[in-house]
Symmetry: D3
Subunit: 156 residues, 6 copies
């Protein structure tokens, strides 16, 4: 049921990932907010920015993204079309992913999905309430988001 | 003509690049401003700083630089002489560079070089007016830099 | 009992506070880690650093501190003696502080103090387990810190 | 017509603004993304975060917001309910706002609103295409956002 | 003699200073490097940038500058002409400046000016070799900058 | 004698190091301060944080650590237990370490160890007074830390 949205994900070492990096000093923050969304929509596993100090006193941005090697060309295409760079650097990176399991918890405002991390020994070592579901409850019931999380944690 | 300063640069994958990194918590910003210039003068392709949080509550700096593997020893020498580090880390990195072409655009204040990125299909997907030339016009004619860029963009 | 360490603190508007600021580009992170401790020991309400981009390509640090106006001279003295600045800027700032109350919660590893924020209407809107106590339990019992917090939250 | 959405805004000095600040070291980035939206919805003129170095080696966040003094209590309420702080600081701040005017520009993909800044002498010194409109065109026509902006700038 | 370049500067409290702030999310780092220089040339006492997180996932820049209230209008003019903002905020700030004295130190490569801070009791509590002079020696004699500073410190 | 604490360390290229990275947007700064200490205690060569901009307007933290490949599993264990991540990425990295030598310098307040970097040609190119020893002297004698360093530098 939940499985449709959230396929069970076993622990594994993924040797097929690539980290890409671009330095940007001639693009506005406005455009960068847009680019991040596009890269996620196109299948990037993660995209994030860091503030960097570049030559000639320029505050710049280091764009980093993580994707599978199959996505490399698609990501390059977006980066060239949507940013101002003429070059893209990358290197292979290994990712160790833990087993994930999704359970649901009943709160007074309805069900909330919780993502759990399962250790090699089978223990639950991580429990994260799904942000979008908690946010929706907070909005609908006009309560602080932290109260929704607190309720979920108590029910675990 | 322009070719002398700006040799045409074809699209290629460069597998000969190295990323170097140094963590610094016992050097002043004053010296770091100087080191960046030295590294560029010695042939680094790029040099940039990020703020990092180090042990014992220390605000530190992560120096990153990109250079060809032939430059590795020269860069090490400068980093050891001019910073306070005793160790330097590095790893190979691939760079995909697009074709670059330089054209000139006529503005009411004179010619301005524009660097263009050419896609694999031959399309112009990037056009960057040369900063130093625009800056010089802005200074000489006492006009805002953004007006110079706006004029160049209109003429493209 | 707890009151000795943690006097009850009623909601109030404090108009007697000062924010101080110093820009630093000629001091190492090593020294700054030390200065922060000294300022707290001397009675600063808060001290924190931000990364800033200063002239001549220098990565610098903005030191900010919050203290009562009675502490202004003491703070100046430390800043002049321990940093490299020749000037210190400051301005008055108003602080609205909520009522604080300290309760204790029993966990399987012992008692933990929880700081609570009480709203104007008397509601508990904030509950923060004391970090140092949770840390000590985590260390002594060799368990993850997040497990200690989770246990305290459940007991609230 | 446009005036309904965008009332003409004359140049003025606004002496009725307040800057609020909160230091946060015990809240997740996930919640902070949510809080920013809430504060804007409740009428903050601006909300932004800076990375700060806090005591005990903690990477923290400085939340800053700008609002009119009439909004001060509303903002306090949200900050107390949705973040983990027990205290909020603030100080008056003056804002000099330039005259704004909204014009529309016709592109091959439709009309785009452009916000213009008008100087005391009546000159247009700023022209910003509306981001949401450009974004929608880029999405609908499947073209790079930067192409949409370039088209608008050419038509100005 | 030195006095011409460096007038003796007695300890004083300056109540005539203003801090100005602008949030920027639609300007490139390239232009910001240029703006900083212009503001210093026009008489700003200090100008610096901080990375900020703005709405819609935008990495932005907070520009801060410090100037005397007489310079306020000049600074506004540059900010409006050279950045993309339509509003500028500011507030008064007090600056406590210590007495400065300039001495010269003889090194094997020539004289170097050292700026000293003098405490209320007449003690030297700060000694900063002039960066530009040390840099020039390092360049001319092809020696590490840190060696030049080390030599000056030894001679003090 | 010192050798026990500080074994002489010859210049070498270490090909056995690993850089690990974790992106974190659902953990507080409070916990991160604790995690850094644990990772160092467990044998990490370095651990540091950078502020990053993550999706949905979240200010996040990039945790980076450097360790030998033998420590990889130990580090993973701590990261999974003490942070909120479900995945850890890493890649091999080469470290060039210079020869280190420890000497002692006599000051008026007692002996201070100085760590020196020795170049391939046998020259001393780096001299760093040991922070913890200088700090202890500063505390015991109630003098500014910078005076202790200045004294050590003069005696070198």
């Amino acid at each position: 049921m939940l499985g449709a949205k959230h396929p069970p994900n076993n622990e594994h070492i993924d040797d097929n990932m690539v980290k890409m990096e671009v330095n940007l000093d001639d693009i506005s923050g406005e455009w960068l907010g847009y680019v991040m969304d596009l890269l996620f929509e196109a299948g990037a596993n993660d995209v994030f920015y860091s503030p960097i100090y570049m030559k000639k006193n320029r505050p710049g941005i280091l764009l980093q993204l993580l994707c599978s090697s199959q996505k490399l060309d698609k990501m390059k295409e977006i980066l060239l079309q949507e940013t101002t760079t003429l070059g893209i650097r990358y290197y292979p990176i290994t990712v160790h992913r833990m087993e994930r399991r999704f359970i649901t918890v009943e709160t007074k405002w309805g069900m909330v999905t919780v993502k759990q991390g399962i250790s090699t020994k089978g223990e639950v070592f991580q429990s994260s309430p799904e942000y979008e579901e908690c946010k929706q409850i907070a909005k609908e019931h006009n309560i602080p988001l932290k109260k929704v999380y607190a309720e979920v944690w108590k029910k675990l």
